[in-house]
């Protein structure tokens, strides 16, 4: 389980960083999206990973604190998702505005001279 999550985070973050360094605005925004997925998974994993655990309680058994998944990382990740979603949407609008105003989708607003 740990290995799968770690690999997923690594691949997402790696692709995200690579895309972020590309010169086209669309690649940058996808890179940011992938990076934020990686970070969200990472936050989620700080609460500890368990397979086959009960959601909250097992029927008929008295619940103890040890059975719960830690709710704080889940709350954090939820907040992070919402904020990341909103800011990415905002960036998308700016990206379109930049495309319209400068006539190119290069991040610097002009093509590099050959």
């Amino acid at each position: 389980m740990e290995l799968v999550v770690a690999l997923a985070i690594g691949i997402l973050a790696g692709s995200g960083v690579w895309l972020l360094l590309r010169p086209r605005t669309f690649q940058v925004i996808i890179g940011l999206a992938l990076l934020s997925y990686a970070v969200n998974l990472f936050i989620f994993s700080t609460g500890g990973l368990r397979t086959g655990a009960d959601a909250i309680l097992r029927q008929g058994a008295a619940g103890t604190l040890a059975d719960f998944a830690d709710p704080v990382p889940q709350a954090l990740v939820l907040t992070a998702i919402v904020i990341g979603f909103a800011t990415t949407a905002l960036l998308l609008v700016v990206l379109l505005a930049a495309r319209g105003l400068t006539g190119t989708d290069h991040v610097d607003g002009r093509e590099r001279e050959q």
């Binding site: 990472f42 936050i43 700080t46 704080v72 990382p73 800011t87 700016v94 930049a98 105003l101 400068t102």
Partner: protein, 534 residues
């Protein structure tokens, strides 16, 4: 203290939030209503922050539990002198930028007023919160509003600079999240006071990971503070932003400084066990490099707006270098420097727009550069009689603007007699006190950096000043309304007041710094609230 006074702590967040929400509801149809709401909110914030400054001047830190949840479960706001100083600076700068915008900038695009209020809300929240994740949320509120503010007025330059600004800050936010989640994973809490209390007990094998997490967090703060090599975005963005937006943005870089100050001194103070003093040397070195880069940038700036941006870099670097020295008295001086530099740089950003108004495009390109490109030659030939006339009258507006520019230059370069000089002196003096043993080599380097950066700023300001006011005056005198000049005058008057009252201000700043170095007063009320819940 009564319960009523306790609720004052949350007011600097609630007031702009309600004002902003009301403005969104009111829509853009009635600009005078929006302006009135904004005026009420900013004046109220001024009054509130003055009250908080007085309230905070007490040994115990005031806390406010949001939703009255016990501190270990809920989020607390904490008010100490440092927070009060920052909130007060935000209110003053916010008021000045708001009044300035009423002259014409607020009509340059939609939703200027609500965005401005939300930015104030985010700033105040970031300064007051006592919880790491809540700090992230307020950072995002502040940044989301600042994205809109940067783009206010639209235009190719703003959109291009805004795109870079947004991408870099989104990346910094991701780093912030990584840092926060590592800290939570190791320490199991996000409450800053609780975290500081647990620093001692962190297991040896986890300590390196915790320090790495906090270092990642620190990088996110340094991006905001525009420290070298993470601050290349700053000059372009600030130069492209409209004047009131740039003035409001100039305090955003200080949020990064505030966060470093708060988190570093709280978590890596003397109570941190093996981690005490973690990262102070790198902080000083980064600060010195930022000063060096800022000094080069200030000399290389070919227009006033970029010059103002470069002076933000120098101010960030000076603060980081001083904080990294890890001495309470030095940090006290740094806080005094912070107050003066926020006000002066805010005034400069407002002034830039007034000075540049009515000048030809490209008029601020340096004379040397103009000659190199042969652009200014035909100008020399025409009408020598008029140019050489003795006793050309200087219009009153130009004289006023020139005087204000001079005051800004003295403040930012740190020359006597204004507060910039006193603040730099207050930073340097404790480094060379006879009682503290021989000054270290680092202290000499910091002194050299502070003085040389002041020299670079003085040269650059003088050069641009001569160019803007004497060498190539505007064809027609700038038309500046009283409404636009008043905020600049207010900020500069406050700087003068800070010079006259430097003694009490330094006492307040030193008390704030001492409290930061002895965080027991910060920890006790928060933890007491947590204990009471168990």
């Amino acid at each position: 203290m009564t319960a009523w006074a306790d609720h004052l702590l949350v007011a600097p967040i609630v007031v702009p939030m309600m004002a902003g929400a009301a403005m969104v509801l009111a829509g853009n149809a009635r600009p005078s209503l929006l302006a009135g709401l904004g005026l009420v909110s900013t004046v109220l914030l001024l009054v509130l922050s003055a009250t908080l400054l007085v309230l905070a001047d007490a040994p115990e830190v005031r806390i406010y539990r949001l939703g009255n949840w016990p501190a270990s479960f809920g989020i607390v706001l904490a008010l100490d002198r440092l927070s009060a100083i920052m909130v007060a600076l935000t209110s003053v700068l916010g008021f000045a930028a708001f009044v300035f915008s009423l002259a014409r900038w607020h009509r340059a695009g939609t939703h200027f007023h609500p965005l401005f209020q939300f930015q104030l809300m985010g700033l105040n929240g970031a300064f007051l919160t006592g919880d790491l994740f809540n700090l992230f949320v307020f950072f995002e509120v502040m940044l989301a509003a600042s994205y809109g503010m940067t783009l206010h007025g639209s235009g190719v330059a703003r959109v291009r600079a805004g795109l870079h600004y947004i991408v870099i800050n989104l990346l910094a936010s991701l780093l912030f999240l990584i840092g926060v989640s590592v800290v939570y994973g190791i320490a199991g809490t996000l409450n800053m006071a609780d975290l500081a209390a647990r620093m001692q007990a962190v297991a040896a094998e986890d300590r390196a990971l915790l320090e790495a997490g906090l270092a990642v967090l620190g990088i996110a703060f340094l991006v905001k503070a525009a420290a070298w090599p993470l601050g290349f975005w700053l000059q372009g963005t600030y130069a492209a932003a409209s004047a009131p937006a740039a003035a409001a943005l100039s305090i955003l870089s200080k949020v990064g400084i505030y966060a470093v100050l708060r988190v570093w001194l709280l978590l890596f103070g003397t109570g941190a066990g093996a981690s005490a003093g973690f990262g102070t040397l790198p902080l000083t070195l980064i600060g010195l490099l930022t000063i060096a880069f800022g000094s080069v940038a200030v000399l290389a700036s070919q227009n006033l707006a970029r010059l103002a941006g470069a002076s933000v870099l120098i101010s960030s670097g000076t603060l980081l270098a001083a904080i990294g020295m890890n001495r309470a008295a030095v940090t006290g001086g740094a806080l005094l420097y912070l107050m003066g530099s926020v006000l002066a740089i805010g005034a400069l950003f407002l002034l830039v727009e007034l000075v540049e108004r009515g000048r030809d495009i490209g008029a601020d390109v340096l004379a040397v550069t103009r000659e190199a490109f042969g652009a200014g030659e035909d100008e020399e030939d025409g009408e020598p009689g008029e140019r050489d006339a003795v006793g050309v009258p200087i219009p009153a507006t130009v004289a006023t603007l020139g005087g204000s520019f001079l005051a800004c230059a003295l403040l930012i370069a740190g020359l006597p007699p204004l507060s910039g000089f006193l603040a730099k002196f207050a930073i340097l003096a404790p480094l060379f006190t006879p009682g503290g043993g021989l000054p270290s080599a680092l202290a000499w380097v910091v002194m050299a950096a502070l003085i040389l950066s002041g020299l670079a700023t003085a040269i650059a300001m003088m050069r641009t000043g001569i160019d803007a006011f004497w060498a190539s005056p505007a064809g027609t005198p700038q038309r500046v309304s009283v409404l636009e000049f008043m905020p600049v005058a207010l900020l500069l008057t406050l700087c003068v007041a800070l010079t006259v009252a430097a003694g009490p201000a330094l006492d307040y700043a030193t008390a704030a710094a001492n409290a930061l170095y002895a965080p027991a007063d910060y920890l006790r009320p928060v933890l007491k609230a947590a204990e009471a819940a168990r």
